[in-house]
């Protein structure tokens, strides 16, 4: 099947129900997208599918043929993505870092859709788990990266 990932259309030879996560990591060699739980609980595997934050571990590859898939490796190609990364660096958000690819993409999706999010918007959008407990810094970084 064909998948469009980070602007490139790639042929991948996988069973149709293979989770997008493993196509990204194993077929395309993009390891910035992380496996955390495999059951869409933690969000470490978050990618953007047509701009929406999507848990790739529970997304069959065949369900996203024809969609624009973006992974963390190209997050800085958009202005919002760049701003989010800079806010993450400025706020020194990551600790172990394992969940942060997903966090950064979730924030990028939020701020692309809602440049000036309310507290409730942030609560609704930023739901990925972080075992290091960087939640307060994540919130501060999202605020910094918002336009207001």
């Amino acid at each position: 099947m064909q998948l469009t990932i980070n602007g490139e259309t790639r042929d991948v030879d996988v069973d149709s129900d293979t989770p997008l996560l493993w196509v990204i990591r194993e077929e395309l060699g993009l390891t910035g997208t992380k496996y955390g739980c495999g059951i869409a609980q933690c969000g470490a595997c978050t990618v953007l599918v047509d701009g929406y934050p999507t848990r790739s571990c529970q997304t069959p590859a065949e369900s996203v043929t024809g969609a624009e898939i973006k992974t963390i490796e190209t997050v800085e190609e958009t202005e919002v993505g760049r701003r989010v990364v800079e806010a993450w660096v400025a706020n020194q958000v990551p600790q172990c870092g394992y969940c942060q690819s997903g966090q950064v993409l979730a924030a990028t999706a939020l701020l692309t859709e809602t440049p000036n999010p309310t507290d409730e918007d942030i609560d609704y959008a930023m739901v990925n788990l972080c075992r290091c407990g960087t939640y307060n810094k994540i919130r501060a970084a999202v605020r910094d990266a918002s336009e207001a």
């Binding site: 996988v14 069973d15 293979t18 989770p19 493993w22 990591r25 194993e26 077929e27 060699g29 993009l30 390891t31 910035g32 997208t33 992380k34 496996y35 955390g36 739980c37 495999g38 059951i39 609980q41 933690c42 470490a44 992974t71 963390i72 490796e73 997050v75 800085e76 990364v85 993450w88 660096v89 020194q92 958000v93 990551p94 600790q95 172990c96 870092g97 394992y98 969940c99 942060q100 690819s101 950064v104 609560d123 930023m126 739901v127 990925n128 788990l129 972080c130 075992r131 290091c132 407990g133 960087t134 939640y135 307060n136 810094k137 994540i138 919130r139």
Partner: protein, 731 residues
């Protein structure tokens, strides 16, 4: 028995570890640090540190430092870059830091090292300073020889040697090859702390950009030429082992499958891709039979029954510490209160599932890439599994996607022995990943703990306290600490500083059937909850305010009096409540203190009830690690420790039924969500006491502060965690 099964049978359970520790003559995981240096280390100190082994300076003037301790979020690489850079005179941002291999001279804790016990900075601060200062002296000497002047005429600016008289300057990069070939000086002068430029400042972390852009690599991302991928299905109950796979032919025919292997306690599938291996191994219909595990789970094991067993356990009370005569004081007291406290098994829940890659090389050596907090121990075990000498095994510890104690050497809990066995069996490199479900099944959880308290209260407050801690600690299990001398079994109940005239803490040993492990703050993570909760109960029985009672009990302890006052002030002044908050909710606050890992901490938590569940709004922490290196990293570690402390207090509990964990992933074992995270306010106090730990000490006081606040808010005293299993009426 298959070849691979035989191999895994050889896995030493703790032989190599015991060998290690016997050599050191010290119970290294105890909290009574600093660890004494080994004779070899003392000899080395006399000769100066092995600078070229730790430090490379590149032509462009950047440095590569090999760290004895692995980075897993605690910021140790940045901390060491600061400390070495301060003495070397090279700005921290010029450093890249990598993990050092197993063996000398990186075994800086006396023939070994672990990343744990909040020990990295405090055990190696002086070594890292010596390292930087020695290297600087070598650069000065190299320039002196080059320019034909005396080294005493030279000085440095960051990254550069300067001869002021002649105006000559040379970058470290130019001098590196000559400098690092010189003998390491035996004596160097360390920089006066008043002249520190980077130590004690919030130097930015070296790894945040890579970690914000998906570039950081972890064990799970390792790729080796020609590797196959493997997945396992462990026996649902530890102790069972596969007898057969009834649909073997079907599994072998699945897409991508290379081979199916019966291991000790697990079935493995090796395939071209991990997803193929996982799908195949999960389709395997395995007949399990009783195996020969060293710690088999009893088939009828349940956490509820185990808790009751501990609660009723009679037996020898081995004294841990005693002061005055608690037994007599309790006997003669008019008011005596009693309570039993318990805390559940908890998993580590580090977000990166465990993995290991093994490759046998043509020269007979073995490379292992994995998540590892103890390289020398892994090396010893890997060698035995592979039938090699330890010197033939290269352990490549990887950046850790969280650890919290998950990646010490525990029998049956580490994937690398399986990866080695599979690589040997298939004659190719193998990367094995455990799914989250397999991680839960074979994690080494913090033991379920229980303690029985009796307290006597006189007109002026507590007069006697007697505590029996029942159970087993991980240091007893893995390092042979005798009952009564196993800090992990009692710390947080032992080691408290309150001036109660008569006190007695004893341990009643009861073996824990689970493969128990270290969790962030280890024994403190639960025992301080128990002690500080009971202390509030004694305050209640004495009719005293819990904050004021602590102040009185610490009146003769200046360090803790300062700390207690600081946390009170940080919170805007002690106010237990209940009171009405701006949003109309009824809230209350609780106070607790802890003395973990060489540091001191005090926490105040503010809670309310929301739909019958406890919400934690704010946590104030005052922490005194004696002296620090990076205030931003300390603050981040406290934030993190508070998060884990809130998480375990509110929602975490691993239960077993029929010898099997009832949760296998984050759906049935919730961890703290973003909307449950309180605001955290941190005050760092540098009392000048010997440097203590930072990674864990922020955690232990959080739970009891929350539980004490809940008692003030609801009148209900919670003695069994987590709070989510209790029903609270609206308040």
């Amino acid at each position: 028995m298959t070849f691979v099964q035989k191999l895994l049978k050889q896995t030493p359970v703790n032989v190599s570890r015991r060998g290690f520790l016997r050599g050191t003559g010290a119970l290294v995981l105890s909290t009574t640090l600093p660890v004494r240096p080994s004779k070899a280390q003392e000899a080395e100190a006399a000769a100066g540190p092995a600078v070229p082994a730790f430090l490379e300076i590149h032509e462009d003037g950047t440095a590569k430092l090999l760290s004895p301790f692995v980075e897993g979020g605690q910021g140790i690489y940045t901390t060491f870059a600061q400390v070495v850079g301060e003495e070397l005179d090279l700005a921290p941002e010029n450093f890249s830091v990598e993990i050092a291999p197993a063996g000398p001279p990186y075994d800086v804790m006396g023939g070994f090292r672990i990343t744990g016990g909040s020990m990295s900075t405090r055990t190696s601060y002086e070594l890292m300073r010596q390292l930087g200062a020695s290297a600087r002296a070598m650069f000065l000497e190299a320039a002196a020889q080059e320019w034909g002047v005396d080294a005493s005429e030279l000085t440095t600016e960051p990254g550069m040697v300067v001869h002021e008289a002649s105006g000559r300057r040379a970058g470290y990069g130019e001098l590196a090859s000559a400098a690092l070939d010189l003998p390491v000086p035996t004596e160097v002068t360390l920089r006066d702390p008043s002249e520190f430029r980077w130590i004690k400042t919030p130097v930015p972390r070296l790894d945040v950009r890579d970690k914000s852009t998906g570039q950081a690599k972890y064990s799970i991302d390792v790729e080796v030429d020609g590797m196959l991928l493997a997945a396992v299905q462990h026996a649902p109950r530890l102790g069972l082992t596969p007898a057969s796979v009834s649909n073997l032919a079907e599994i072998e025919a699945m897409r991508g499958v290379h081979s199916v292997h019966l291991l000790d306690g697990a079935v493995a599938v090796v395939a071209g891709k991990f997803w193929e291996a996982r799908r195949a191994v999960e389709a395997a219909e395995v007949e399990w039979t009783e195996g020969e595990a060293q710690w088999p789970m009893p088939a009828d094991f349940s956490t509820d029954v185990f808790r009751d067993t501990l609660a009723g356990k009679e037996g020898e009370i081995v004294e841990v510490e005693a002061k005055g005569d608690a037994a007599s004081a309790l006997e003669s007291a008019e008011t005596v209160i009693e309570a039993i406290y318990d805390a559940p098994f908890v998993v580590h829940g580090q977000l990166e599932p465990p993995s290991a890659t093994a490759r046998f090389n043509e020269d007979g050596t073995l490379d292992v890439w994995t998540c590892c907090q103890a390289p020398e121990m892994f090396q010893g075990t890997a060698a035995q599994v592979a039938g090699l000498e330890p010197s033939q095994v290269n352990i490549h510890s990887q950046m850790l996607g969280g650890f919290f104690g998950r990646h010490f050497l525990y029998a049956t809990s580490n994937p690398f022995p399986q990866a080695i066995a599979l690589a040997k069996a298939v004659g190719q490199p193998v990367k094995l990943m455990w799914t989250r479900e397999e991680d839960f099944l074979r994690d080494a959880p913090r033991p379920l703990g229980l303690a029985r308290f009796r307290g006597a209260i006189g007109p002026d407050g507590p007069t006697a306290l007697s505590v029996e801690v029942v159970g087993e600690g991980p240091t007893g299990r893995w390092y042979d600490a005798p009952v009564g001398s196993d800090p992990s079994a009692t710390e947080g109940i032992s080691g408290k500083s309150y001036a109660i005239a008569n006190s007695h803490v004893g341990q009643i040993f009861h073996p824990n059937p689970a493969v128990i492990g270290y969790w962030r703050a280890v024994g403190h993570s639960m025992h301080d909850f128990m002690y500080e909760g009971f202390l509030d109960e004694m305050a209640g029985a004495a009719g005293q305010d819990p904050f004021e009672m602590r102040r009185a009990l610490l009146a003769d302890n200046p360090r803790l009096s300062t700390l207690l006052a600081a946390v009170g002030e940080l919170s805007g002044g002690w106010q237990p409540g209940p009171y009405e908050a701006e949003d109309g909710s009824q809230r209350a606050r609780g106070i607790a203190m802890a003395s973990p890992f060489g540091s001191e901490a005090a926490a105040i938590a503010e809670v309310s009830l929301d739909g019958g569940e406890v919400a934690v709004h704010q946590v104030w922490v005052a922490i005194d690690p004696g002296q620090i290196v990076n205030p931003a990293i300390v603050e981040a570690q406290v934030q993190s420790a508070v998060a884990l402390g809130v998480s375990q207090t509110l929602v975490e509990e691993l239960s077993y039924e029929n010898g099997e964990p009832t949760a296998r992933n984050f759906d049935l074992y919730p961890i703290l969500r973003p909307d449950q995270m309180p605001e955290v306010h941190v005050r760092i106090i540098e009392s000048g006491a010997p440097m203590g730990g930072v990674g864990e000490p922020g955690l232990p006081a959080v739970g009891p502060a929350i539980v004490n606040a809940v008692a003030t808010l609801t009148g209900e005293r919670i003695r069994s965690l987590p709070l989510s299993k209790h029903e609270f009426g609206g308040a």
